[in-house]
Amino acid sequence: MNVLVYMVPIALGLGLIGLFAFLWALRSGQYSDVEGAALRMLSDDDIEH
């Protein structure tokens, strides 16, 4: 069962990475216009023709 001693912290660490990624996304305003984000994804102006 000694495997748990490092598996559980690793699992928690991975979860925390996800949590901080969400908090970062929230802080950088990615949730302020969710409908717009869905549409911007489809426009390809950023590609040079």
């Binding site: 699992a11 928690l12 302020s32 216009d33 426009s43």
Partner: protein, 725 residues
Amino acid sequence: MAETLDLSLFAKPAGDGTLGIDVAVEGIACGGCIARIEGAMKCLPGVTEARVNFTNRRLHVAWLDGVFKPAQILQTLESIGYRGHPFLPLRAEQEEGAEARRLLRCLAVAGFAAMNVMLLSVSVWSGNVTDITPETRDFFHWASALIALPAAAYAGRPFFESAWRALRARSLNMNVPISLGVILALGMSVVETANHAEHAYYDSAIMLLFFLLTGRTLDHAMRRKTRAVAGNLAALKGENAHRFVGDELVGVPVAALSAGDRVLVRPGERVPADGVVLGGGSEIDESLITGETARRKVAAGATLYAGSMNYFGTLTLKVTAVGGTALIDEIERLLEKAASAKSRAMRLADRAARVYAPVVHATAALTLVGWLLAGASVHDAIVTAIAVLIITCPCALALAIPAVQVVASGALFRSGVILNTGDAIERLAEADTVIFDKTGTLTLPEPRVVNAAAIDPDLLQKASRLALSSRHPLAVALAREAALCSPSDGAVEEPGQGVRAMIDGVEARLGSAEFCGMAEMSAPAPDTSSIVFCYGGRSAMIAISQKLRPDAVEVVRALAGLGLELHILSGDRNDAVVPIAQALGFANWQGELKPADKIATIEALKARGRRVLMVGDGLNDAPALAAAHVSLSPIAAADVTQAQADAVFLGDRLRPVIEAIAIARRARRLMSGNLWLAAIYNAIAVPVAIAGAVTPLIAALAMSGSSVMVTLNALRAYRGEGRRP
């Protein structure tokens, strides 16, 4: 005369040498619009940022100070086919944005903790019935504590703070039992973990927070959405005033006017602010202020109220301080009185909390005493009592009402009703009497052509196209009949008389009878204005008057069918009210009422035990709206009035009124249904808890089960009643 537009009021310096402006944009329909608008803005020199928010239909532009004037942004928008309306972001809206982000952060933390604690808890539950070693179980419990304690301290703050505020004010709300349950569950779990016990309740506490935060976040998101739409509509309504700077005219937003400014009011425009006429003479329509449909003649020295429509002549106005005029002062005095005298109905959730919290706490205390008397150890008695508190923690109860509110306000939103206050739904459902204002509420806010059926359609079409070239209020009313939106070519307006143009080589004239070379004709009815159109040898007299909303008859009949008592209270003359009351079948109506009289009537109805829904739009209705149990106003209403109303409805139809009542009644039934579901859940779970048989597994199942059930039940509010695809 080209007039410059001064929008510097809306441009806010950002501190780094740039200015920022927020614009509500009409016409954003698809993803392509985002790229077009942002592209056009970035072509302007000096623009550092241009960002369209598609969810709110708003544009934010930042540019280097001094490179161009803010009006340039609106012109650029217009040149690519969008109309922009600058606005100042409301303080309340910004605060709500911050609150929404805070709730989302709490929700994320609670979600993270709930997932990880459940991961550990499920292992313990399955281990307890197989072969987990006590050491492993302790390790899992300590790991859970490590996650749950900081997470609850962070994510629980919205509840703890609210509960603390309530306790300090010596009252109880739903957050008190929630906070108590969470804190006790965590505290007991730590003690139990230290004692190497089999059960710990970290998962219950964290899941409770997660479910509740989900409900709150959704509730908040819905309210923010309606608030944003209301903010855009206010920006769309915002008109510009023409202010004299020296001898020059500058267009400024109405919000930038201050007392002492001189402004010009042209025919067909609304008076931008309260003031005194300095020069010019005209007739003005004050129906938005007093409900009176007959126009008032004004000359120098007369007092004008913001929102009146100027009909014939150009007026120069000196703006007086806000308030300071007799009518506005009276309205404000009445508003204060109505607001203080009003015993706001206690919200259903608070009523439930006030009954619920003492019952739960008493039950837990009795359990403790009962087990001690029965000879159990102090430890066991305390554990059982806390288990009662946890299992009764009003997860379902706290979700029961907000969940329905979210879904019902979504349904209302689709029916064109925007809520100002969340608990309006409950009060709408209780209404048993509906009072309508007449002018602008039962009738359309602007006058319309009333004898369209009697006029040759071809002639009416030509007349309405010609009318598109004029700003005169009668011509504007006629222009609403136009099928095409292109005005006749080469139209010439003769101020004060009419417009003329050549159509297919024949002269057409629209205006007064003399202008068309005809004898003066008498208007067909009082309160009706007429305008004459002649084209070649043919001519037509077009009657323009207040017209009922297109579905007023059916809606009034349907409301009566719902068993509601209906009244008309109008500020207009009796002979203008009678025909409307007869056409709609109102038995109870009163005309020539002052704002105070309307309140008196409402108070009399309230004394009879009636719950009054007031529907009104005029400034004179504002105190009555505040005095009524619940209130609605159309979007065209005066600003003060709209601010008083519990909800605002959009469009020309009266139908949203009946839909609002239907949706609210349905929502109210679901709310009480949900409260019953929560009560049944407690009736089953509490005896189990008192008996001391609740394990964390049972608590978790019961809590999630009841929350899901209540939420699913709330979703039924989404189907508005009487809606057909």
